[in-house]
């Protein structure tokens, strides 16, 4: 049993370890290790395409995570009032949206966006008074929309768990002490939920930042970091790609750990 679990862990982590190891490769080729160096990290960070893709990814991740946190928290707060069979239906729908494969979300979002654009663009062109009507098309905003959709469920699940664990009497105590419903929300509910919302934000950020499949479908001409990595791999695996991979992994891991710590601390109280 012990051997078996060791084997499982090796199987899981050896490829990742190899990527990190080879990102420090001093040689030109990814396949052979010739001494250690950080020069590929420098090279990757000097590459304007990488930096460009990185900023696109960061912007998308930030916007999507922010929107997902706001909408997810509002949804979680609204859902706590729902009872009975309706609640079960909503619960199911939230979990389904987490479990649906990325490729399905990707295709579905693409089809949905394109058909909406097809309907809306002629209308906008009709009512537009200026010379050149704006045209809705795939781009950064469509990626943000798609990412917000699937990360929102994560926020809902995390925030709802926190709401469920929250003492209802705190809210009653606040209203009893003359606080209006809005004042209670601002001074009691929100601070109580803050760690969960932040954890949800960080998880959403990581998921959006790392996502390839959905971005690939709806990004249009834009290049996110995962898309850049994917396209450069087609020209062969270079230590530069390994370096990017190692950096992305490091950053994601850091965010996940912070999110976990937030939820843990939350739990202990």
């Amino acid at each position: 049993m012990r051997l078996y679990s060791i084997a499982v862990y090796l199987f899981l982590y050896i490829p990742i370890g190899i990527i990190v190891l080879f990102s420090f490769n001093a040689g030109r080729h990814a396949s052979e290790l010739k001494g250690l160096s950080v020069k590929w990290y420098g090279k990757a960070l000097d590459n304007p395409f990488v930096i460009d893709a990185l900023f696109t990814s960061l912007t998308i991740a930030f916007c999507a995570a922010t929107l997902a946190s706001i909408m997810g928290t509002s949804a979680a707060l609204a859902l706590q009032r729902i009872k009975g069979p309706l609640k079960a239906i909503f619960d199911g729908m939230i979990y389904i949206s987490i479990m649906i494969p990325g490729i399905v979300i990707g295709i579905a979002t693409l089809v949905a966006l394109v058909s909406v654009f097809d309907v809306l663009n002629p209308i906008i062109a009709d009512v537009w008074l200026g010379d050149k009507a704006p045209k809705l098309e795939l781009g950064m905003i469509s990626v943000i929309a798609a990412h917000t959709l699937f990360t929102m469920s994560l926020v809902i699940v995390i925030v709802r768990a926190r709401i469920a664990g929250m003492d209802r009497a705190l809210i009653e105590a606040s209203t009893d002490l003359y606080a209006s419903p809005w004042a209670t929300f601002r001074q009691v509910t929100l601070p109580q939920l803050a760690p969960a919302i932040l954890a949800g934000f960080l998880l959403s950020f990581t998921f959006s930042f790392d996502d390839f499949i959905i971005s690939f479908f709806v990004a249009g001409p834009n290049t996110t970091l995962p898309i850049y990595v994917f396209s450069s791999i087609r020209r062969g695996i270079t230590p530069e790609v390994n370096a990017i991979g190692a950096m992305v992994m490091g950053a994601s891991l850091l965010l996940l750990i912070v999110a976990q710590l937030l939820l843990r601390r939350d739990h202990r109280r």
Binding site: D167, A169, L170, E172, A173, S174, T175, D176, L177, Y178, A179, S180, P181, A183, T184, Q187, V188, P191, Q192, R269
Partner: protein, 378 residues
């Protein structure tokens, strides 16, 4: 005692207030008045409607029918944050993300116009002093012991000087010794601040020791309300006698009624003379009734003692079935042939003179006629 002058308008009035949850009636057309400056308790087992009554005052529940008035004004439809009452919650409900001073000052910060910072600070310091936590303002909530948290909750509820302070089983989470101390402190505090206190508790000792007046509830209705002494000495029925203190009940039938004395023929065949528990003329010959005697009013002596030796009117032979030593007194469970098991509480000072009894020893027990109450079965 510096109890504030009683005014004509009671502080709180329930007028046929009913609260229903679907088919369940939590509070059933409750009518009662709580006077200004009174320490009033709702007492009863869980599910009797006492907490719902309190929540009707606080505004967390709205009556399905009837009205709840505070200071003469109807509160129907008024949300909790617009009512001049504050509450101490059962598990304190202190805000964990704020320190002690911010918790205590919370109510003041919600007022509009909001008092200046220095004023809030001053009032917080004063109130913390009142509950003997002067140096604790900067502490976090979870650094405090249960008793200290209790005081913070009290300070937080008192700082806005509400007309009425509501207390929902405030001492239930404390250990016995601390509970005793807090009972005394609460009582002193209530006299000092002169605010009406409304307490909800299932602990009869707590209610008896602190309240000016107690309302005993059952199934959403009032069974009896009165001063602690009235409830203890003149319980209206078996439920009250059983709930407030301990009591022995001997079943029987009313044999004769003559003014202040009622004779009950017990099922065991003996005739007991009892006092009526109500002034009202409700006793009917032939009705089934119980003879109720408090265990501390029963004398116990060696077997064969006569009434004179025991200093009683009634003498019943029995045998000690169980004995529990409780320090200041000893509790005997005496089994009798005709009247079942009878609980006797014998104080230490009597034991020190007459000696005590062991298990399985034969004894004689008895009581004076005027200490027995006739309770009609309802």
């Amino acid at each position: 005692m510096t109890s504030p002058a009683q005014t004509d308008t009671p502080d709180i009035r329930f007028e046929n207030a009913t609260k229903r949850y679907g088919d369940v009636v939590a509070v059933d057309s409750l009518s009662l008045a709580i006077d200004k400056g009174e320490f009033f308790s709702f007492l009863g087992p869980s599910g009797c409607g006492k907490t719902t009554s309190l929540r009707l005052i606080a505004g967390f529940e709205q009556p399905t029918e009837g009205d709840v008035l505070i200071g003469g004004a109807s509160m129907v439809g008024t949300p909790p944050h617009k009512r001049p009452v504050n509450m101490v919650f059962q598990h304190y409900a202190l805000f964990p993300h704020m320190n002690v001073a911010d918790n205590v000052g919370y109510g003041l910060r919600q007022l509009s116009p909001r008092p200046p910072k220095s004023e809030i600070q001053k009032r917080v310091d004063e109130t913390l002093e009142l509950v003997q936590l002067a140096e604790y303002g900067k502490r976090r909530i979870w650094e405090l012991s249960g008793g200290q948290q209790q005081r913070v909750a009290l300070a937080r509820a008192l700082i806005c000087r509400p007309t009425v302070l509501l207390l929902d089983e405030p001492l239930a989470a404390l250990d016995r010794k601390l509970r005793r101390e807090m009972q005394i402190e609460l009582q002193t505090l209530q006299r000092d601040v002169g605010i009406t206190f409304v307490l909800v508790t299932h602990d009869q000792e707590e209610a008896l020791s602190m309240s000016d007046r107690i309302c005993i509830m059952r199934d959403g209705r009032i069974v009896q309300s009165g001063t602690p002494r009235e409830l203890y000495d003149r319980p209206l029925n078996r439920y009250v006698a059983d709930f407030v203190g301990k009591s022995n009940f001997i079943p029987g039938k009313i044999a004769t009624v003559n003014g202040r004395s009622i004779d009950i023929e017990s099922d065991g065949g003996m005739l007991f003379s009892c006092n009526p528990s109500t002034e009202q003329d409700t006793y009917t010959v032939g009705d089934s009734a119980s003879i109720a005697v408090r265990p501390e009013l029963i004398s116990i002596g060696p077997p064969g003692s006569n009434a004179e030796a025991l200093g009683t009117d009634v003498v019943i032979p029995g045998r000690i079935q169980n004995r529990i030593f409780l320090g200041e007194h000893t509790e005997y469970l005496v089994s009798t042939e005709k009247y079942g098991e009878i609980l006797v509480l014998s104080p230490k000072y009597i034991e020190s003179v007459r000696g005590s009894f062991e298990r399985d020893e034969d004894v004689a027990i008895g009581w004076k006629n005027e200490t027995a109450l006739a309770l009609e079965d309802t």
